[in-house]
Symmetry: D2
Subunit: 288 residues, 4 copies
């Protein structure tokens, strides 16, 4: 995709739908010498929400990218837009949360090593030391903050401090088996992506593979979503599924599910990093 | 598959697992000159349930197939088996229940016309006359029994009479939008297959496509299951899914879902007809 | 999708990529009071080809849609564009070609009856009379032109005459088992969509299911493509696959493949009708 | 699956189909006190080949597993069977061949670390030193034998020596980018599994992702097969696919393909290790 190769700017916009938005925004980019590499938008006909992503080359741009937000502000005011402007060359700082299971972490670290994801990982945080060797292998700082029911508030503050200190811009829960409190989520100051090991909204809560086994489903799934205060209810970014059968034990479901979890989480992170995901209400628009 | 071409016998068995079942049953078949075309079995390690399907050629069999049940009874007694014996040459009599939506009905009728399913369809029953033209086209008797909240018990009795009169051995709810009462299910005397237009257990109940749209899922599904008194909780026979995105309206989900519903229901019916499905507890074993 | 509900205009554009195309085209639409419902574009970085689809509402448009082509011509000239303008309210006239197998035809006719596809079908043409009953059921004229090796040129002229007489704008080969000659294709004057019963480029030519069986593949597929003079080499619009195994006979592959063929062909036709497909070189861009 | 938990014996059989095989073999197992955990068989109706896999518990077996082959020999003689007997508790010794790309290797090593695969990996062999760090991390001996066109015969002898020395029972080409010579394959003395980065038989040979991009396919695939002297023509064990579109560059296909290659290769290795794969002619029977 263009974003990886040439330097580009991604402009994300949300407002109520009106005539002339595309013309006005593409005119703005053209006036400053920008070449649109990719644009996509969506209007929700039930709510009249308009959501747009425009990606344009910085090459030939007659304004320093830093000054784009100020230059765009007047247009945003006219249409009452919320907007974000991202430079593709800036790597997103991702903080990883993990517990004992290492497969999602190991998968993301390998993609990171191949630079598939265009991120920096300044820290891996865990409530156990099980995954320390992965951090060591990839030379990433690893912080362990054990947690009990009683110490949860303090532990969350430690995690928050660490994330802030590392100026983390995205938190990825790579099978972090703790529920983040409403307070944590309100303080974290950046999006949090979680992987749930079921095809939501089926099998909410604990032990989804056991639940799936007991229900006798013929397909299992995994779901990556933004974490919100309503557990397992956050906006869904990506889902995928795999067939299972009567011969599969709960352990087989867990094993098959691992592959799913890795892929679904990696796709969600990639789409977030490339700023292809816009949240509105409890839903997402994902611009492929 | 062999069943379609050569005449064969299918033997279905359920009992608690013990040593020697396969040897004893295959010995029984061999002793009467039967050639096993296909055999499969499964042991649930948690419950110790043993389930088996054996299919053997009637060609060369030194006992009239009609006498097989009596001949097999002593073995069944030793192992405390429940068992069924089916002749592949005997067509299953299928009664169709349908409401206004015709796609699942039309799909099954076409498969029937190509003799994909090896069934007879003595009757199509509906609470509306919408699908009458399909019945006419395929020259199948069509019975309309309108239903209201008040007349439901009587209407169900009419449906039951009709099914009995036609000696129906399987009822297929091809998008029949009425919930069958516990009483109906206890009286019907044969299995009932239903198609639910969601990936169960997600989106139980009414308007699953609307529910899926509101939740913002990235994949929708369809589920064929045996109808039981617990609505949408019956043993699942088959499921499948298709990707959806933010551009898909509820109407698009309905349209994409139709293809799924047709395929999933047809696969479930085919497997039932070929006696590949065994129910135990609220789960199925499906021997492909 | 919006196109089905509100009347809209679809503008398709192809040219070499330059700065300012999106701004200029969206400005053009805005100047005439059009509200862009959907826009998408793609630049092939290897060839520098720019391809765009813009869909805008006719409601509020301050120019009769008929005059849009003339109004747009000057812009097209500046950018050396090829372009097409379609009104969503105009139904596309589709001519169906079919041989003995009826499943793709029956499937499209049923979708047509539900008005899933927004088409008219003025004629079904076949080299056999096998599918006459379908034509009769759906009250569509059915023309039979038998063909032999010797009479092929004359038969193709008969088919062409019929298509022209019915002012057909799209030809759909719904398992038409004749290879259209280069001459036919150069004279037909509208796109031709074919369904090939394999995952192209695997198993080109005759009996792909037999070929797939002999090769022992674990997945089979179907491919919808525009017909060109190079057999099975035309630009691919859509493909899909299904799992198969060692138990599946050639007949089972044929049966499983039927479902695939129907769905893949229907999706390709729908995308063409909605003007979501642009051809360049031997490839397509499909704007979902 | 049972094989992982209880110790079991897997018996694989190939012969021409006759009456009484299942009865005789299951009787044999029963006579020695074995409890059949799983059995499956397949008859190719075109060739009359009979292929069977029976898995039975060693618990309660009244014969030492080592003596089973001799005990079974007389039955094998009667039916002219080829047969193999494997103990599930014996780990298969797997030699890995790899070149510069590390994703399939890294994936298998991680599965190995979780003991998903029940194998030993005594050696990783490469023609480059790129993957040395993975070998080091997992503490597996790593041997580098560089190869040029001229030195290929010698290099292959070095590889063969190393494999023999390590008593390797399965060779896995985890993206080993050298074609094994007919001589190598005739000398290696154990099965060789290769992963080809396309949906065979499409895109045989070099650069399949480039070929797929140029053809404009909508789906790409990966194929795991036994290596034979006919390049990319060996018996297929497993295939899978993923959707691609016009936005995907060749690099995107490569990236998406990596996930496929890892999963398809891992599934093929697992099935081989569990002795679920039987080869006959150029096809496989895979007993799930």
């Amino acid at each position: 995709m263009a974003a990886q190769k040439k330097e580009s700017v991604v402009l994300l916009i949300q407002c109520k739908d009106r005539k002339g938005i595309v013309a006005r925004v593409s005119g703005f980019i053209h006036d400053f010498g920008g070449n649109i590499l990719h644009s996509d938008h969506h209007t929700d006909e039930e709510t009249n929400d308009f959501l747009m992503r425009m990606e344009f080359a910085t090459e030939g741009l007659q304004i320093p990218p830093d000054e784009l937000p100020a230059a765009f502000a007047p247009i945003a005011k006219v249409f009452e837009m919320r907007y974000e402007i991202h430079l593709s060359s800036r790597r997103t700082r991702v903080g990883m949360l993990v517990s004992k299971q290492d497969h999602c972490l190991a998968d993301l670290l390998q993609r990171h090593r191949r630079d598939e994801l265009h991120i920096d990982i300044p820290v891996i945080i865990s409530n156990h030391d099980t995954c320390a060797s992965w951090a060591e292998l990839f030379k990433i700082p690893f912080a362990v903050y054990p947690v009990t029911k009683e110490t949860k508030p303090q532990q969350e503050q430690q995690v928050l401090s660490q994330l802030r200190e590392q100026r983390v811009e995205l938190v990825v829960m790579a099978r972090y088996m703790q529920i983040l409190s409403a307070e944590f989520l309100s303080q974290v100051g950046c999006p949090v992506i979680n992987i749930h090991h079921s095809f939501l909204p089926a099998f909410i809560g604990a032990n989804p593979y056991r639940q799936a086994y007991d229900r006798g489903v013929k397909i299992i799934g995994a779901t990556a979503h933004y974490a919100t205060q309503d557990l397992d209810e956050g906006p869904i970014i990506e889902q995928d599924v795999i067939r299972v059968g009567h011969r599969d034990s709960v352990e087989d479901l867990v094993r098959k599910g691992r592959d799913l979890e890795e892929m679904v989480l990696a796709r969600a992170v990639r789409r977030h990093i490339e700023r292809r995901v816009l949240v509105y209400g409890r839903k997402t628009v994902v611009f492929d």
